[in-house]
Amino acid sequence: MINLAIIIMGILMIIAAIYAFRTEKLINSIIASGVISLIVSVIFLILAAPDVAMTEASIGSALTTIVFLYALVKIKAKLNGGDDA
């Protein structure tokens, strides 16, 4: 039962990872990579490592995603600014 759950979550992770580099919009791939971290943290919890799961959930899926979003804001500002004209 637990093995089945882990396998399903692994397949979900692979789907999210493929989506992250196939999609056109950058914001979608940032959110997909956050989803991967969230699933990994659930797997860590199932494998009896609650402290690692806590770190992964807050660093991987919250803080890293936010930092990527700030970087995206900066990139968009550069592109709209007319530097590439």
């Binding site: 580099f21 609650p50 402290d51 806590m54 770190t55 807050s58 660093i59 919250a62 803080l63 936010i66 930092v67 700030y70 970087a71 804001v73 900066k74 500002a77 550069k78 709209n80 600014g81 007319g82 530097d83």
Partner: protein
């Protein structure tokens, strides 16, 4: 087309590496000699319920000190590279009413949970690093709500400096009083499972938690100021 196929081939080849690891992965039925010693000593000598904490803070305490130093260097690097000018009002859209109300409700709960995690590091799963990261994520939520808010970097940096310094002082106290660096048994040990037990381990974890929380908040705030500022310049 060829490029996409090549990418998939590389990914599948990388996945093949993990197959033998997965096949040999068995759940261990008994502890090795070293683990037995750690488990026995952490209950008998250190009075620490959470064996992971007793390993991380005492037996491998020097590694933890190294990790904290690495984080400190990362924060100094970010602060050095990103110059903090006077911030003007950014043109980013204000947060919606739902996010605003919800996050003011949830912010104290997250901070309280973070403090609980690092104060109870010797009893329940988690510890200084996890608690600090939780506190930092609460502050990031407030940054999302309030785009123009200004954090007081002097306070953050003093919290970081004082707690880092106290960590080293506690480590050195172990060396002076008991003759081994990072020995937490110079304080009264208390009873197994009580909040005030396990010598200096809760103290060390509280300082690590404060330090990590202040550092991560500082890094994210610096990156945020950088991103909104550049938008201001180009528009």
């Amino acid at each position: 087309m060829l490029r996409t196929v090549l990418i998939y081939v590389v990914i599948i080849a990388l996945a093949m590496i993990f197959i033998p690891i997965a096949r040999e992965n068995m759940e261990k039925q008994d502890l090795s000699d070293l683990s037995k010693e750690y488990v026995k000593n952490s209950i008998d000598k250190l009075e620490t319920q959470n064996v992971v904490t007793s390993v991380v803070v005492t037996y491998r305490g020097l590694d933890t000190l190294g990790e904290v130093t690495v984080l400190f260097l990362a924060t100094s690097g970010v602060g050095f590279l990103i110059n903090r000018r006077k911030k003007r009002k950014s043109k980013i859209r204000q947060a919606s009413e739902i996010l605003n109300t919800g996050s003011f409700f949830i912010f104290p709960i997250i901070v309280l949970f973070g403090v609980y995690v690092f104060v109870h590091g010797h009893l329940t799963p988690g510890g200084g690093f996890q608690g600090g990261v939780l506190i930092a994520s609460a502050f990031v939520l407030m940054m999302l709500v309030n785009n123009n808010s200004d954090l007081n970097h002097l306070v953050l940096e003093s919290i970081e400096a004082i707690s880092g310094f106290s960590y080293v002082i506690i480590a050195a106290l172990g060396l002076i009083l008991l003759g081994s660096f990072l020995d937490p048994t110079f304080l009264p040990m208390g009873k197994l499972g009580m909040l005030f037990s396990a010598g200096a381990i809760p103290l060390i974890y509280s300082f690590v938690g404060l330090k990590v929380g202040a550092e991560l908040t500082n890094i994210i705030d610096s990156l945020r100021n950088e991103s909104t500022e550049s938008e201001e310049v180009t528009k």
